[in-house]
Amino acid sequence: MTEMIVAGLILLGGVFGVIGAVGLLRMPDVLIRMHASTKIGTLACGLIVIAAAVHFGSTDITIRAVAIVLFLLLTAPIAAHMIGRAAVSTGVPLWNTRQPPSATPVPEKTP
């Protein structure tokens, strides 16, 4: 039973990883590509780590798995936010995107 769960989780994680990679190739502009890559990648990674935790089933491995997932959830959106913000504020052309009139490119703040 446990083996079935572990196999299912790893398979699902792998499939999501492949989908993320395909999305990186297929999607039309930088922001949509980030939807495909960073977040589906995080989900795939999380699924595989959880599968490892279920497979070994011991406390130290579980704690490490929880720590890995927490750090993934903490860092991935910040990186995505910074890349997306940089893309918008430098005026990278966006595919077919409707923008509110006030959302002109954010002027770069000089430090």
Binding site: F16, I19, V22, G23, R26, M27, P28, D29, L31, I32, M34, H35, A36, K39, I40, T42, L43, T59, T62, I63, V66, L73, L74, A76, P77, I78, A80, H81, G84, R85, V88, S89, L94, W95, N96, T97, R98, Q99, P100, S102, A103, V106
Partner: protein, 159 residues
């Protein structure tokens, strides 16, 4: 000591008494301690803590549900030959006041595939969100406000 500390202490005592230091055991100790503290609530005076724990649990569960649902949407759009994406950048007014709340809202919005938070305005009142499926920007804005932001306000700032 506040109620949260007491609850952690009860969970640790449970682990020592049952003698098996596993994560699941700690979790069940926490749940039992929560129940015990809830029972003696008339003695200690009511606290926000009980509603707060429920709000956090709801936030985590609903976030996982949203993550699964929108991952499925994005994956479907990647795999089918026709692009269904209607991207748009929308403005979402923010009701969250604290820094921690804003951080949590923007992080959670960024984490769900299909939405990506781009920028918070200088007066911290509006959030720029890039959405992948924005056929109806108004509906999406309402969904973000009554969903993610509502749960974060309940969990972080209290009702």
């Amino acid at each position: 000591m506040n109620t949260f500390g007491t609850n952690i202490l009860l969970a640790l005592v449970w682990v020592f008494l049952t003698g098996s230091a596993t994560l699941g055991n700690l979790l069940s100790g926490f749940v039992i301690g929560y129940g015990a503290l809830w029972l003696i609530q008339p003695l200690t005076g009511s606290s926000q803590y009980f509603r707060r724990v429920i709000a956090w649990a709801k936030l985590v569960l609903m976030f996982l549900y949203e993550l699964a649902l929108s991952s499925w949407e994005v994956a479907l759009d990647i795999l089918t030959p026709k692009l269904r994406a209607r991207p748009a950048i929308i403005e979402v007014p923010l009701d969250v006041k604290t820094d921690a709340g804003i951080l949590l809202v923007t992080n959670l919005i960024s984490l769900t595939p299909g939405t990506l938070s781009l920028d918070v305005s200088d007066d911290r009142k509006t959030l720029l969100v890039h959405a992948m499926f924005a056929d109806d920007p108004e509906a999406l804005r309402a969904r973000l406000k009554s969903g993610m932001e509502r749960w974060v306000i309940d969990a972080v700032e209290g009702p």
